[in-house]
Each structure stands twice: as structure tokens, then as C-alpha cells.
Symmetry: C2
Subunit: 146 residues, 2 copies
DNA sequence: CATATAACTTAGCCTATGCTAAACTTTGGA
DNA sequence: TCCAAAGTTTAGCATAGGCTAAGTTATATG
């Protein structure tokens, strides 16, 4: 290779960021599901496949398949043809997600974006925000409005 | 259904956010690739599979397969066993990504997070930030630091 | 109490994104 | 000039996460 043989010392450091993003993505779906199941249980007393499918905007069969994975991961429990429940770990993950989600959304609002954009962007952003950034957002909220 | 028959008026609105997130994810990988190819071309004169694989932290074969998709999408061009080039559209996407990425990273720094965290988090966040939020970040930067 | 409808499940398909192992080109040196 | 090392590609596999269509179970109501 004639030109630019230098690999740069930071190849491994660079790749770490992308690895984190990929890892976040695998965890993301599980987080969205348990958060939504928790919301449904709180709002309406029970969580059903159909409601999840509707809110997520996917087909019913997709929800069923994903729920099987979540059962394997011990985040939810379910009997055939019955409502869906969260395990203790599932509730913990849901609570964490809610806290994070709420903070990011409030932060975006405080930054000056519209309600609608805050709602949509926070959904995408929440899973990629480290605890350090989350703390920084919290501090910002403490200084500036609500 | 005895309890809670009400579907809520916002099911479709809710699902829109998740649909956006899913759409973002499909576009994300393409964005990361073209941005990295652009960086490699600028830094070292050419972009090769091996360098992309190393920086991304994935196997070589994965890069090859993804590049085929990017060729189909007319974002890159490539002859067998040769370096990789961006099409005009590829360059445009790379530039957009860089601008967005740089802005998000600077914003996180201004918010008070460490260099390292800003680098890592911005990688995950950049693909989920709407133009409205981006503008809000820009305004914040104009007011506060750098 | 029988049955239609709504909800759930299964089966089978697809694409995206990863991997390893093996085969093939290029190319720099001996 | 020719060969070995480095880089590239192919082949084959796995998992995640989508879909539709067809079958099964629960239940609300006539």
C-alpha cells in the first residue's frame, strides 16, 4: 500500500462507539416492549398483544414472536391466550426506561422544541444516552425551567 | 373485554414515533458507512474494506455484504478488488451526516459531558435527531459556549 | 347455550446484519 | 520472475425483526 500506511492509534477506540450503538439497538426493542406493557397495565389493568401491536405499529404476529424472546430473557410471563405480565426484572427495566424517557423528553422541551417533536425524538434518543449525558441533562433542567 | 374497552384516540399517533425509530435504524447503517468512507478518503486518499471493518468493529465479510447493498442504493461504486468510491448522492449523505454529527457532538460538549462521552453518545444520537431538535441545539450553541 | 367475532397462535416467508472458513487477487520483495 | 502475505470475495450459517395467511381459543350476545 503506497499511500497512508498509518492505521491510526484509535481504531479500537473508534470501533467501541459503533459497538455500543449496536448493543443499544438489541436492548432497545426489549426496553420499548416492557415500557409499553407497564404503561398498558397501569392504564387499563392488563396488557394484550393487540394493544401492543397497535401502539407499536407492527403486526400482531410480530408481537407474539418478540414476546417469546422476552419470555426467554425472563422479562415477561404469559400463559397462552392470556394477558401479559412483567417479571420483577421486567418492571425494573420498565421503570428505568420511563425515568430516562421522561427526562429526555422534558429536556428537549426545555431546549425549546415542540411537544410533538419532543415526544418523537425522545423515543429514538433515549436508548443512546449514557448516564453521564443523562446527568448533564438533569443539571440543565435544574438550572433552566421545569 | 370487561375492563377498559377504550382504545384511546392516539394509537396511530403513538405508533408514528416507533415507525420513525424503525425507519431511522434502516437508514443509520448506510449513513455510518458513507460517513466513514468519506473520512477515509479525506484522511488517507482511499477507502478499503479492511479499514472500514476495523473502525466499525465488524468482520470483513460483513462490510463486503453491506457495500453490495449500498451499491444497489447507488451510494457507492466499486470494482472488484479495488478501493471504494462515493457517488454524488453518497457524498451528499456523508456531508449531511458529518454536519449533524459535529453539531450533536459540540452540543453535548457544551452541555458539559466529557470528550469521550460526547464522541460515543453523539454516534448513537445523531440518527434520531429531527431537524427541529437540531436547530434547537444550534441555538443553544449560539447562546452558550463554542 | 350456540355461535360469531375478536384475540391469539402457528407456519412460512423475507431482508438486514452479524459471523467463520475457504477461495481468490494483488502486490511487494527476495 | 515468482511467491508469500495482505486484502478481497464467496459460501454458508445464525439471529432479529418484519410480514401475510390460516388455524385455534375465548367470550359476548342473541
Amino acid at each position: 500500500m503506497a499511500l497512508a500506511t498509518k492505521k491510526g492509534p484509535s481504531a479500537k477506540l473508534r470501533s467501541a462507539a459503533f459497538k455500543r450503538v449496536r448493543a443499544d439497538h438489541s436492548a432497545e426493542l426489549a426496553g420499548d416492549y416492557v415500557e409499553m406493557i407497564a404503561d398498558l397495565i397501569d392504564e387499563r389493568g392488563e396488557a394484550r398483544c393487540t394493544d401492543i401491536a397497535m401502539r407499536l405499529g407492527v403486526a400482531n404476529a410480530t408481537v407474539v414472536k418478540t414476546l417469546r424472546r422476552l419470555q426467554t430473557a425472563e422479562l415477561v410471563t404469559q400463559e397462552p391466550y392470556r394477558a401479559i405480565f412483567l417479571t420483577a426484572e421486567g418492571w425494573k427495566m420498565a421503570e428505568d426506561g420511563r425515568r430516562k424517557h421522561a427526562l429526555v423528553e422534558k429536556f428537549l422541551l426545555a431546549l425549546g422544541v415542540s411537544t410533538e417533536t419532543a415526544r418523537i425524538d425522545s423515543e429514538g434518543i433515549e436508548h443512546h444516552v449514557s448516564s453521564e449525558t443523562l446527568r448533564a441533562m438533569g443539571k440543565f433542567l435544574a438550572r433552566h425551567g421545569s
